[in-house]
Amino acid sequence: MPSPRSVGHALVEGFGDRSYPVAILASLARMLIGYGLAIAIGIPLGLAIARSILIRDTIGSAVVGLQTLPSICWLPLALLWFGLSEKAIIFVVVMGATFSITTAVEGGIRNVPPLLLKAGQTLGAQGLLLSLRVTLPAALPAILTGLKLGWSFAWRSLMAGELLYSERGLGRILTIGRDYGDMALVLATILVILVLGLIVSRYVFEPAERALARRWGLEAE
């Protein structure tokens, strides 16, 4: 076990020689693309599954199965399809995050109080308009939970992917630490990964959740 001092030293050195900033930027760039794609696929898929019984019985069951599959299992296939490239890792991230977002969106939409839908209908909203003006906003708290869940799944998938294969990124530094037996570097990197996760949860998701709770009156005054 490395001493706190050596871990601190590894941190200072890593930020000093810019290896951490470069790695963080590389990892976050992959996250943005992968997570963005997961949102772009996950939300419409959740909507479709909630709306159509046919899609629920076919793709819906597949989604439930896929969600339990650790996304890193896709890496061999991704390497075959995309070669040793950025695309392979992003694919793993997408597979890791999409289905938890889909499941949350689907659940949120199915749990929209029928009263609100009826109110929307009697006020003249139908079809797409009803979905956009009533169903989606009503499902927003559940969708936000799904996005938060999706983010942590994406982050885990990314680290696993980078650990196994990548040129840059935080996972890569972990591999280097292992290869050189530099446990201080490994621990320092784990700290960086942890703190990044905390920052996103603290400054992105928590404020969004609080704002929503306040608006909906779900928060104790």
């Binding site: 009826k118 109110a119 209908q121 009697t122 006020l123 003249g124 003006r133 009503a138 927003l140 009156g217």
Partner: protein, 275 residues
């Protein structure tokens, strides 16, 4: 605008066998009339406003709503059903927004309707900040903003406390007088019906049929505590008594009905006895 139902039946697929909620309903509502439907719980009376609003189709018969250019009837529910993510004003504007009314006009109409239900100073509040009665008033304003020819009200005050309900009875009579809307009001509360309506239709327990018609010709505004009104309500209650008991029998196990003034002597929980 006139509403007419001719030989309307409505059946549902129950758990074991099909359930007939409405049986051969025929009724007419005249323009500007305040009509109340009263029936025991579970008599299918709440299905009726849904049929008129077009949210459900009759299994048999026809529901004719001469809507003309004025648009469809609007429903008001037991729970206000305000959208929690919108302010009170945005809630009232909802139907206008769906109809693509320009923003300035929307705001004008919303504030006018909020004035009618006396909620203008709460225009920017969120639904969860309102009391039950205020929510229901906001829901009424939201419906009236569309200037519907008919208001369909499905037990709108059933979830309110007694004092608030009394106030809402006064308010609704005032709103009805000021707007001249046709109102079809469904309730299980006979006194409420007699207090509000020109004409009361009494419904039977399931299957729901129209059993009797009572005309209420008392001066407005009426209050539930008015003794004359209590008399009319008693007449209506006598007509309905059998039906209420029939409905209760379906919902309770057997042996629930005790002779008046006597509880069963045995059993846990019965302690008090005169010495």
């Amino acid at each position: 605008m006139k509403i007419e139902l001719r030989g309307v039946w409505r059946e549902f697929n129950g758990q074991q066998r099909p359930v007939t909620a409405l049986e051969d309903i025929g009724l007419e509502v005249e323009e500007g009339e305040f009509l109340c439907l009263v029936g025991p719980s579970g008599c299918g009376k709440s299905t009726l406003p849904d049929l008129v609003a077009g949210l459900q189709e009759p299994s048999r018969g026809e529901s004719i709503v001469n809507s003309g250019a004025h648009g469809a009837p609007v429903l008001i529910f037991q729970e206000a059903g305000l959208f929690p993510w919108l302010t009170v004003r945005d809630n009232v504007e909802f139907g206008l927004r769906v109809r693509r009314i320009p923003r300035a006009r929307r705001r004008e109409i919303a504030m006018e309707q909020l004035g009618l239900v006396r909620l203008q100073q709460f225009a920017e509040a969120l639904p969860h900040q309102l009391s039950g009665g205020m929510k229901q008033r906001a829901a009424i304003a939201r419906a009236l903003a569309l200037d519907p020819p008919v208001l369909l009200m499905d037990e709108p005050f059933a979830a309110l406390d007694a004092q608030t309900r009394d106030i809402m009875h006064q308010e609704l009579q005032r709103i009805w007088t000021e707007t001249g809307k046709t109102i079809l009001f469904v309730t299980h509360n006979v006194r409420e019906a007699v207090c509000l309506a020109d004409r009361v239709l009494l419904m039977t327990a399931r299957p729901g049929r129209i059993k009797d018609e009572i005309f209420v010709d008392l001066p407005r505004p009426r209050s539930v505590s008015n003794p004359e009104l209590a008399e009319v309500a008693q007449v209506a209650l006598d007509h309905l008594r059998d039906e209420i008991q029939k409905a209760e029998r379906e919902e309770f196990d057997s042996g629930w009905l005790y002779p008046e003034g006597r509880l069963p002597a045995s059993g846990p929980g019965v302690v008090a006895s005169p010495r």
